[in-house]
């Protein structure tokens, strides 16, 4: 087996395949987690997903993350089951939030309604005047770079996994992966886990996959005393995530970290691979965070970082074999949820490769759903 990409998805796939006894080479043109995995946050969320296949994948994935944290120890991943708190600014938003929470409940999500006067107990520094919120105890976080490295290490410990960094894939056909640094690798199947660059890998094999970059900025504040206990965001965030527009969407997700800084993320906009720093975007994120937590107004931002989410037009990842090339498995296009969805994605890939009954219907993730003409 060849897995292309040593990000979160490639690491989880290599681990899942190796644990089933397969021999795997993991290739990356750069270092481990040099792609989007090393440039984003590690929220593991069910709260931001409406009922449907992505939520089903997320619920299974969060269960698997819990197992991983037990197996590897929470410190190896910086796993923190801190829970999420979604807040509504006014009555109407609260009513809508409650309605969507009730639907999520039916898909296996635990939700706890929090009336306005109880918000302060969960988050003492939250702004006054909010209409209410919903608490999602399943939401958690990991440190993505650490988690991907930990999974790759565990995979290598099976003795069946070879990691080839600084190796660019330059050609792809059935049974053959051409590289610049290690010649041609012969293999039974290929897993395309090249994230935002997966479309290029698919193209090498003559397949089409319309993956586009969706830029996101994250703000990092100076270290603070514990100020924010959960992942806190306003209910409008969900609409931003689901938006198909190329324009800027932003609504701050605010969270504390073990080291002290508060992270404020993340914006979403489709501007190609433009790495330029956008001050208006950063200002908007900061203002939204200060609106939720007024104490942040007096706090300085130390830096901002950015990454490019692998975006597919219907916001669902591509998981499974290419319809015309059964040897080419896609595992990409997870957009802003690739860390959260990695373990369940890997499980699905491994089950499909092994010819086993998958734990959920993979059809909604079918890579063939984008007609050729759309690409």
């Amino acid at each position: 087996m060849v897995v292309i990409g040593a990000g979160m998805i490639g690491a989880a796939c290599a681990d899942a395949l190796a644990r089933r006894g397969m021999r795997v080479a993991v290739l990356d043109r750069g270092p481990v987690v040099g792609g989007t995995t090393g440039a984003g946050e590690g929220n593991l969320l069910v709260s931001d997903k409406g009922p449907g296949p992505e939520l089903e994948l997320a619920v299974e994935s969060l269960r698997l993350w819990r197992e991983l944290a037990e197996d590897l120890g929470p410190r190896a991943l910086e796993y923190e089951p801190k829970g999420g708190l979604v807040v509504a600014r006014d009555r109407q938003a609260f009513t809508e939030l409650q309605a969507s929470a009730r639907l999520q409940c039916l898909s296996g999500v635990t939700t706890v309604e929090v009336p306005a006067d109880a918000l302060g107990e969960l988050e003492p520094h939250l702004a006054p005047g909010l209409a209410g919120g919903v608490h999602y105890p399943q939401d958690a976080q990991v440190q993505p770079a650490l988690a991907a490295a930990a999974l790759l290490r565990r995979a290598r410990d099976t003795g069946r996994v070879h990691l080839l960094a600084a190796t660019t894939v330059t050609g792809l056909s059935e049974g053959r992966v051409e590289t610049d640094a290690h010649g041609t690798l012969l293999c039974a199947s290929v897993v395309n886990a090249a994230g935002t660059w997966s479309g290029e890998i698919a193209a090498l094999a003559g397949a089409t996959l319309p993956v586009l970059p969706r830029r996101g900025f994250v703000l990092v504040t100076e270290p603070l005393p514990p100020l924010v206990r959960h992942k806190v965001y306003a209910a409008d965030y969900v609409a931003d995530v689901a938006s198909g527009s190329a324009d800027l969407q932003s609504s701050a997700v605010v969270e504390g970290t073990a080291a002290g800084p508060v992270l404020i993320g993340a914006s979403r906009e489709r501007v190609g691979f433009d790495r330029g720093l956008s001050v208006p975007v950063l200002a908007r994120l900061a203002a939204q965070a200060a609106e939720l937590f007024p104490a942040l107004r007096e706090v300085r931002v130390l830096r901002a970082y950015r990454g490019f989410r692998p975006y597919l037009p219907d916001h669902l990842p591509a998981i499974g074999p290419d319809p015309e090339r059964p040897w080419l498995f896609q595992a990409c296009g997870h957009e802003g949820a690739g860390i959260g969805l990695a373990p369940a994605t890997a499980r699905l890939v491994a089950q499909l490769l092994d010819g086993e009954q998958p734990f959920m219907d993979p059809a909604p993730f079918g890579p063939g759903r984008f007609g050729k003409e759309q690409a």
Partner: protein
Amino acid sequence: MRRGPLDLVRARPETPFEFSFDGEPVTALPGQTVAAALWQAGHLAWRRTRLGDRPRGAFCGMGACYDCLVELDGTPNVRACLAPVRPGALVRTQRGDGHGELR
């Protein structure tokens, strides 16, 4: 004879002034940074670390290491090696992250 840096560059500084460090008066020369003035007055530490309550002062002296953070006129996390000191400035030892008010 021992020569100080001012003699070495043949400086003719303007009139010294005072500022306060943890309530004590300290004398500074116009153009000095907070760190330079504190050092000249014999103070080597003006921050206690977040985790071990250990003393810290200037390390790199050029704005890169953030070891020299201090509270200046009520604002925490100011780099003492970059901030110019002004007459009457209120400099205080920074405790931990300097945001005790948020605790």
